[in-house]
């Protein structure tokens, strides 16, 4: 039987790549605080209410963009993902794990990524995949991606259904909400686990006063900085 040459080539390149790269899952694990880890893929709307000392908070939506993933050895970049844009959606288990295809032999100590979408991509033409506006993370009344979206309810909010809504974005200085996150890697066997401690964010917001941020500006910038602090690779249960 004759085997077409291109099939042989394809097979050999597949084998070669299988030998030279490995897949490290980069997992995003939304949690409330260090004691309340949500199991992966749990639908936030099905989950219990989270007591925030004086409040009980329900989170219905948690979606955010991760871009420009890279691995560093000290200050040197050892690996960079190309075309690196990922929509992480807490209600979509698949989206919580980003497989990184990394050449074997590459060692790293830090994982670095951006929270949000860079300004150049914000003003580019329409994109597909995770950047497709039909994902609901692109503003319609003005150009720009929503970098981070969190919606839920809290009795503290004197709004309809006690709802709070944070649509955080904006790529213009001085209110550029694009944030860089740099975290140490802990050499976990199963990959890189990134916890998102939402309490860090929710405890800084006075929900009675601030419960709707839907436009770029000072408040959005402040929230984006607080969101950045929620990310950690180190889960130290106290």
């Amino acid at each position: 039987m004759r085997i077409p040459i291109f099939l042989l080539l394809l097979a050999s390149t597949t084998l070669m790549s299988a030998q030279t790269t490995r897949i490290i899952p980069l997992r995003f694990i939304p949690t409330y605080d260090r004691n309340h880890t949500l199991t992966q893929g749990i639908h936030l709307q099905d989950s219990s209410f989270y007591s925030n000392d004086k409040d009980s908070i329900e989170i219905r939506t948690l979606k955010f963009y991760i871009s420009g993933i890279q691995l560093n050895m000290d200050s040197d970049v050892v690996w960079k993902e190309t075309n690196s844009y990922h929509l992480i959606d807490a209600s979509n288990e698949q989206s919580l794990s980003v497989p990184l295809t990394i050449p074997i032999g590459i060692d790293f100590k830090r994982i670095i990524f951006n929270l949000g979408i860079d300004s150049a991509t914000n003003v580019m033409g329409v994109q597909g995949g995770d950047l497709d506006p039909m994902r609901g993370m692109y503003w319609t009344w003005q150009s720009g991606y929503i970098n981070f979206k969190m919606e839920g309810n809290s009795p503290l909010c004197k709004t309809r259904h006690h709802a709070f809504e944070f649509h955080i974005g904006g790529y213009h200085c001085p209110y550029n909400t694009f944030q860089c996150v740099s975290l140490p890697d802990h050499k976990a066997k199963e990959g890189i686990n990134i916890y998102i401690l939402l309490k860090e964010l929710l405890s800084t917001i006075d929900l009675a006063r601030t419960n709707q941020i839907m436009t770029p500006g000072k408040e959005a910038l402040w929230i984006s900085k607080e969101v950045k602090k929620c990310f950690t690779t180190f889960l130290d249960v106290r």
Binding site: G125, P133, M134, R135, Y138, T140, W141, S143
Partner: protein
């Protein structure tokens, strides 16, 4: 007069494995600047333009299938809503700004009166989602198109993929809008030395250049900038203009400088459609300027024009009417697709 046909789109044929694909090249009229739109990211094709035209004229884009893009952007008025200061959208709701004319969009660096939208591809999202206009999400539009008898085939023809996405929907709408080029007014013929201005038009052109052209820059008749042109604030609207987007008080009451091409048929004028006649517009510039901190620099010094001079300027502005654009069959309702 030598008859000149500007070939906007040159068709060449390229053979792919399954079908003959038209690849179209966007032709920039002589003397015009390089378009702002990056065609390499969305190369024009006959099938994509045809799909875009169908989407532009199809009310399926609105929540209850009553409003299409063409409802407020009609071809016979350079794709604006003639005689309507504000357009009426879904459930007869009224907007707050005048529907702009759609032409020469490939050269636009921003969209909407306040420049809220930075790229043509994203522009259609705004009217689609606005609760007073079409009140529909792109996600829902994509789902409706997917379940429609007509569209999966049209998308397959255009993008070789019958699975409809937001990206392909918006790219197709852009393609149709990009073909809306108006470059065949009498003014253009005069520049090409195929026609000549009357004495009155010549004088109007001279006055226009002296008083208006710094913002309404030739050949597009806009500088794509934002200016406060001294309109008094309509207290029923309190529209702060570009400041809404930048949150910078330096942009208070600034609005995008509109092109003046086809102005004869795109009334009423200004962001709130407050003027119905060009005479009123010119009277505003000579006698009606409201001074404020952000008033456009070229308007700081009063513009002085006699009534005869105003008439001459209007005569010149009429030479910006492009009949081949206003009555172009290619831009009309695509009967062959939608019926």
């Amino acid at each position: 007069m030598k008859k000149l046909i500007v070939l906007l789109l040159l068709t060449s044929l390229a053979f792919s494995a399954y079908k003959v694909t038209d690849i179209l090249r966007f032709i920039v009229p002589t003397g015009w600047p390089t378009p702002a739109y990056d065609f390499t990211q969305n190369p024009l094709s006959t099938d994509k333009i045809a799909l875009g035209s169908a989407l532009f004229y199809d009310a399926i884009l609105s929540r209850d299938s009553t409003i299409s893009c063409a409802t407020c952007h009609s071809p016979y008025s350079a794709f604006t809503h003639i005689d309507h200061p504000f357009s009426h959208g879904i459930d007869n709701k009224i907007g707050t700004r005048n529907a702009p004319a759609l032409m020469n969009l490939a050269w636009s660096t921003s969209f909407m009166w306040d420049g809220a939208i930075k790229h043509l591809d994203m522009q259609a999202l705004a009217p689609m989602s606005n609760p007073d206009e079409m009140d529909e999400s792109i996600k829902q539009v994509v789902s409706k198109l997917q379940h429609n008898k007509r569209y999966p085939i049209l998308f397959f023809k255009a993008f070789s993929d019958s699975t409809i996405t937001g990206e392909h929907t918006l790219k197709a709408i852009s393609q149709f809008m990009l073909t809306l080029v108006s470059c065949n007014a009498k003014y253009d013929s005069v520049l090409r030395k195929e026609a000549s201005f009357t004495e009155q038009e010549t004088n109007g052109y001279r006055l226009f250049r002296a008083n208006c052209a710094s913002c309404h820059k030739e050949p597009l008749f806009t500088n794509n900038q934002f200016e406060n042109n001294g309109l008094s604030v309509d207290t029923s609207l309190h529209d702060m203009g570009r400041m809404r987007i930048t949150q910078d008080s330096a942009n208070y009451l600034q609005f995008k400088v509109p092109s003046l091409r086809n102005i004869q048929f795109s009334y009423p004028y200004m962001h709130d459609g407050r003027f119905t006649r060009l005479q009123q517009v010119l009277n505003h510039y000579t006698n009606g300027i409201t001074r404020s901190k952000t008033l456009s620099k070229p308007l700081q010094e009063p513009i002085v024009l006699s009534s005869n001079e105003k008439v001459d300027i209007i005569a010149f502005l009429y030479t910006l009417t492009d009949k081949t654009f206003l009555n172009n069959e290619r831009f009309a309702y695509p009967k062959n697709i939608l019926q």
